[in-house]
Symmetry: C2
Subunit: 212 residues, 2 copies
């Protein structure tokens, strides 16, 4: 009752650190073994706590999985896609979006691996939340951008969501094949080079002759 406010804050802070610590461990194990292949025992060991402690912070194993994108991915991704400096050239803007996405994805390979493996099997609500925080987040952002810029005459008037998903698909497939599907059997180019080529391709097309 006389509990000083500071102490409560400290406690909450410690508590959320514990949660984060457990989640990081869970992510690593999920990424290597898959959701069902991962065991609570292994996660507990990796987190340096006992099995019981995990159940003090998470209802069950599934809660552990569903907490991952909430606690780990969302904040840094959201920070990168504020719809602000769109006054740049298409080339610059798209290259920046692409590089920012790649950076985020690269920093979250494990999470994406887990998502890819789990999403097809998840129930409706969980899938919706996952997607809203990842794929849809980026592609909706792009869709709005294209919509606005088509109106201004920057882009041809194709369907904005086709533009958005096409652009997104171009580099997302690179990322997924490179980092997740194949090991290193891949094109001998850096992401910067790929980004430049992809944006160039997206803007100007693949054909050699511009004759119509």
């Amino acid at each position: 009752m006389m509990t000083p406010r500071l102490s409560v804050q400290r406690k909450e802070q410690l508590e959320s650190e514990r949660k984060a610590q457990i989640l990081r461990a869970a992510l690593t194990v999920f990424a290597r073994k898959g959701f069902r292949g991962a065991t609570i025992a292994e996660i507990a060991k990796k987190a340096g706590v006992s099995e019981g402690t995990i159940y003090n912070y998470f209802r069950n194993k599934e809660d552990l999985l569903l907490s991952l994108p909430r606690e780990i991915l969302a904040p840094p991704l959201a920070a990168h896609f504020s719809p602000e400096k769109e006054a740049e050239s298409p080339q610059n803007f798209l290259e920046k979006v692409l590089m920012a996405s790649l950076e985020q994805f690269t920093a979250n390979v494990d999470l994406i691996r887990v998502l890819l493996a789990s999403v097809p099997v998840m129930d409706e609500a969980a899938r919706e939340e996952y997607l809203r925080r990842t794929v849809l987040f980026v592609s909706d952002f792009l869709e709005k951008y294209f919509q606005k810029e088509i109106a201004r005459g920057t882009y041809r008037s194709l369907h904005p969501s086709v533009l958005a998903r096409t652009f997104f698909g171009m580099f997302f497939v690179f990322f997924v094949t490179q980092e997740i599907l194949l090991g290193k059997r891949t094109v001998p180019l850096t992401y910067e080079e790929i980004a430049k080529e992809a944006v160039d391709l997206f803007l100007h097309g693949a054909l050699a002759s511009k004759a119509n």
Copy 2:
């Protein structure tokens, strides 16, 4: 010793029908529950055989998974990508490849769902085999095509594998998001329309003005 040849053939035929029947059941259950979530009991029930029978045809549960692309996907996909009629216009050719791929993918949604969920967690050899029969099959085919056509001056001289994967990515992402990730929350266009827009976009670029 006097066994008539016909009888042997019939037996083999029946045997492979049994295998196919079990595999179809396995595919359905894997697609809904994931590999580890699926139980042999449920697969057996769905296939209309006993659990023991499954082990007469497959070494173990994993063998069931690995047999899927071999027995189900490979033949029809291979039939569609014979490198023959490349003398067509880029527009026609790419649209055909794209529609053929979409057709194949659509006919194999369950399998792709299973692949996507399993690949990140598979061991090296299994992953290699899976990929060779699916993603790599299409993208290598495209890469060779672009390589040849770049030499003939049809396309700008970008990196062939960037072209291939970019093109592949454009529609593969459409397919995956549409059929697997999202339910029906998606663009109100048919695959034909999307294919046309995507090919057009790929060939001519997104920019409105062709001024350089």
